[in-house]
Each structure stands twice: as C-alpha cells, then as structure tokens.
Amino acid sequence: MVTDEFDWRACLEQVRQRDEDAAAVLVERLYPLVIRIVRSHLPRRVAEEDLAQDVFVKMFARLDQYQERAGTPFEHWVARLAVRTCLDALKAADRRPELRWGDLSEEQAAWLDFMLADQSATPNSSAASAREVIEQLLSQLPPDDRLVISLIDLEEKTVREVSEMTGWSGTLVKVRAFRARRKLRKLAQALSSQDRYAQL
C-alpha cells in the first residue's frame, strides 16, 4: 500500500535529475497501485507485467507534464495514466472472447444463478469464484463499460473519482455504469438460457 510518509517531491526531484536508484524506488513504491489497476483491466493475452511496464515507461516519458497542485497527488496522476494505458490496451485487443456456460466452474455457475434469481441466501461458493465470474462477465463488455464497472463496483471508487481518472463527466460515468449493468444482466440471462438449452 502506498503511504503518505514517502517524500514524493524529493524522490521526483532526484528522478528528474536522472538518478537511477531514485527511479527504481519510485517504481517499487508505485507498483502495488499500478498492478491493482492493471489486474482489474487486463485484456486477455496480455501479460500483466508487460502492461505494468508500459505504464511506467509512459510515466517516465511524461514526468515533465506532471505539475504538483493541491489535490492532485502524484499517485492520482499515475493512477490516471494507468487507467488510460489499460483502456488503450483493451481497445487494441478489440476481439472479446466468447463466454459459454461450459467455461464456468460449478461455483461460478452458482454465483451466476444467484445474480438472476430472486433469492437472498448467497450460494456456498468462494469469494474467489465470485471474483472470477465477475471478471469473466466483464471481459465480454466493451472497454469503457468494463472500466467503469470495475472502478465503481469492484474498487468502490466514487463517481467523482472515476470522473477524475477517466476524464469523463460525472453524468457520463453514471450513464455508462447504468448501461453496463444492463448489458451484464443480458449477458447473464443469455448464459443462463444456454444452460437450459443444453439440458433439454
């Protein structure tokens, strides 16, 4: 976790003077933040380490563009850069793999059934399988929709935070989230009906 005790200003100053050790410390300090974003928005067939490295390469290339202002800590600037890089990678990936009922494990299928059912008792499945089924469903959405749902529903970011990270207006964020959830419901229903056809 990135803490506030770290002297970002001094470190950045050293990095600007091409101090390699300071640059390595900066990367290690930011790695947890970057890798969390990358893992949430990683296109298939892209290694998370490669995408994380792309984020840091962009960070060094654009370091002069960062201006310390009140309310814009360096970590936020990097987070925004990471989100943009992931979004570009998702858009470049273009084709989304088709998801079939048979791709889901029993635990994942139980969570999917729960989403569509009118029941309050949660299935006796692991949290990891809940995460996996959500990631599988999100992989079927267009990049912008996937991003907004990951940030709001999985990372619990506020609309304002998402707006700052993406550059989208608050209204656009809300509308995208609403439409994305509607698409998720249709996807879940389509998957579930696949199951019924398979059983006939």
């Binding site: 091409r18 640059a23 990367v27 947890p32 994380a52 969570w111 949290a127 990891a128 959500i134 419901r185």
Partner: protein
Amino acid sequence: MHNFEKQWQTVAGHARQAPGRDEIAPFGFARRAVAAGWQPPALAPEVLWVRLMLRVLAGAVGVLIVCAALELPHLRDARPLEPGLENTVAQIVWAL
C-alpha cells in the same frame, strides 16, 4: 433490473473479499522499467528512410555544386560545350 442490481452488488461485495494477489514488484522489475522508460524512443522506419534520403540528397547537391564550380571558369570559353562530363569527372578525381 432492480433485483439484478441488488444481486449484482451482493456478488461484487463477495468478489471484493477475495484474497488479493501478491503486490510486490518482481525481482528486477523496477530496474527493467527504469531502463525501458529512459531509453531513447525507437525511430520509425519511415523516419529513418527520410533521414537517409535527405543525406543522399545533400550529397547529390554537393556534387552538383562542385561540378558547377569547376565549370564556371569555362563558362565564357569559345567552346562552352567542349569540356563535357568526362572532363568534369576527371577534374573532380584530380582535385581529390
């Protein structure tokens, strides 16, 4: 839709509790990222071709100027067309 939204949020809540993976940079990652971040950007093939062509063009212009300079004293000669290409080339070779 409201029901799906409620159920979705429940599943998302469980998903958030899933154990996180390792968040420490792998050995050597930081140095690799710094090296990649600080290396000069690779030139596109088009840019390389343009640079090469410009150098060739500059060289050709230089040769033309030398030829013109060598021809200049003979401009008012009675036989302006006499020197011809062979002589110019021979003069350049001699000058070198």
